[in-house]
Symmetry: C2
Subunit: 335 residues, 2 copies
DNA sequence: TTGACTTTCCAAAACGTTTTGGAAATCTAG
DNA sequence: CTAGATTTCCAAAACGTTTTGGAAAGTCAA
């Protein structure tokens, strides 16, 4: 509604001075500054973001693309994280742009469209893959970005991630300590970094215990995927006594398969997931899980992105958060 | 990178003509238009969105605020819907801005900030309440918007909604037909329109069957809420034989409470939810639910918003989608 | 052949900021 | 009292579009 010109006129000052007063430059007298600020408040002045970003050559926005696989999207946790992140960014006057894309090809198109058109100053990469062309693209262009999850060469970019490798190692060793010898892994597709690392943790623990059979099955990270995986594993000639699942969603599917076979999770076979979904506490029996031991991953992500925008080096911005076990009733001593 | 001036120079044309050629005006010769378009493609030209929206006095963006209640956010379905919506909007060159807010007060602040600053041309309102100050604010300002869910005065604005009232009426009557007489409702907070309507549907069915006791309990729309509600209902002197739950999340919590009491869902007590979450098919027993009988609510929402931006009247843009029952194993004949 | 239309193009003025490069006015030191 | 330094302000030039209000050339009818 009101702009700098109007404000300046009503104050008998130049546009320049009003602009600089509001931006807190030193070359405007304290008295004038206060006068200007009061007037701005009174007239409910807000700088026009289009004009500002045209002149400043900045979009004042951060983009995140959502690869929208038909039917299903990530855990509710995920939206939560974005919300926390966006809230912190808003405090700095940055908007969070959601860019849904259809499939991977569409995702790169969106990147080009958004970055060629300078619609965003920085990017958040989610569902990071081991070999991620998005990371390559952004690095090449020199656009500040932070990934949620690592890549195969994590030292080259800023990221925040949970230590899924340690988490799965701990869980597998805990199962071994309870007497389990046939600990199977229900894996998510291995191009996704989180899935790869969780499997690595499981493998490391198997190696520690003298590497018995490596029972595993890879499926989509959904309840249906977990169900299918559990069915397959239980059909084997020497079925596992424990199922270490890449995600809680998969674990929930696995529980359903166990029930169908008349196996009592917790007593006859162990199940452990990851994410500690709200519903994990309400499965039957309540699902043993693990989770990132930090309350505000989204906020930390925002903080890192801001640091990156402020010129901090990517190598200084690499956070691996510890994973904490959340034991419930789906695992116990082996029979 | 490249702008109109550069393009014009390389073509030996004026900026005006290039601009008009790209926008498809009639006053540029077909031959020139093609020449311009080819050059634009070759130079990978993209109009600077800041400059464009400064001049056009439009933001070319749609905002959606996410009231982020600590800890928990809506069902995964929700992100899916936003993704589908954003995808359609992107086809029209509109960005989808996610504005997370802390609590209701913060939400109105965000509205003012975004709309005073002309950061968005239109708004999507989610988690709509019966008396919704956001709707009042937007109406007063004359900003185009579509709500996801109705308000108490739905004829005054554009909305898209499922017919939860019919869905819950149908479900309750189906339960009655199976011999159930004590059909309880696990309600979500009644200021949320969807919760109110679902309860109304249940009430109407009760009235049809001669209105026996009205057993109900209101709780937050989470697993924990459903758990708490089921516990309370089962403690009553004449406990229900069926639980009609406002959401699947609540139903999952309720299932957990039943299990704890040794009640077999489906055989000894019926449970029905709403949303048909991916995990609903994998509870034990698989959860009877219902869902909106349309594949692409998000896309339809986008379409309505576009129509509204195109000048269509709000009263012509009011969609109520049918709700389809998804019977599974948590309900059956009353004993 | 001429006047009126059409077609095709363009110069210049916005849009609302930020920033550059001074210019007055005031102060300070000698 | 004066030269220089400091403080406080401002005019004007960007930023990259869109749009207005023609102008020049070409076409058509009489």
């Amino acid at each position: 509604m009101s702009n700098l010109k109007l404000l300046a006129q009503s104050l008998g000052l130049s546009i320049t001075t009003v602009s600089r007063a509001l931006d807190g430059y030193a070359d405007v007298a304290p008295a004038t500054r206060e006068r200007v600020q009061a007037a701005a408040r009174a007239m409910n002045y807000r700088p026009n973001p289009a004009a500002r970003s045209l002149r400043r050559r900045k979009a004042e926005a951060v983009a995140v693309t959502l690869p929208t696989e038909p039917g299903r999207f990530g855990p509710p946790i995920f939206l939560n994280m974005l919300a926390a992140c966006g809230q912190r960014l808003a405090e700095e006057g940055l908007d969070l742009m959601l860019l849904p894309t259809a499939g991977r090809a569409g995702e790169m198109d969106t990147y080009r469209r958004v970055l060629d058109g300078r619609r965003a100053d920085a990017v958040i990469v989610v569902r990071t893959r081991l070999e991620d062309e998005r990371v390559a693209f952004l690095t090449e262009r020199g656009i500040p970005f932070v990934t949620h999850g690592r890549t195969a060469r994590p030292d080259e970019h800023a990221f925040i991630d949970g230590d899924g490798e340690a988490g799965f190692g701990d869980a597998a060793r805990a199962l071994a300590a309870l007497g389990h010898r046939r600990i199977a892994h229900i894996a998510a597709p291995q191009d996704l970094t989180f899935a790869h690392l969780r499997r690595q943790g499981w493998l490391a623990a198997l190696a520690d215990m003298g590497s018995p059979d490596r029972l595993e099955y890879t499926a989509p990270p959904t309840e249906a995927g977990g169900y299918e995986a559990a069915q397959w594993l239980l059909r084997q000639s020497a079925p596992p006594t424990a199922l270490l699942c890449a995600t809680d969603s998969m674990a929930i599917g696995a529980l359903s398969a166990l029930k169908e076979r008349g196996l009592a999770a917790g007593r006859e076979i162990a199940v452990i997931g990851h994410d500690n979904l709200p519903s994990a506490a309400f499965t039957d029996p309540p699902l043993s899980s693990m989770e990132i031991a930090a309350p505000d991953v989204g906020r930390q992500l925002a903080e890192m992105l801001l640091a990156r925008l402020g010129g901090r080096e990517a190598r200084e911005l690499q956070t691996i958060l510890p994973v904490r076990q959340v034991p419930r009733a789906t695992h116990g001593p082996a029979n």
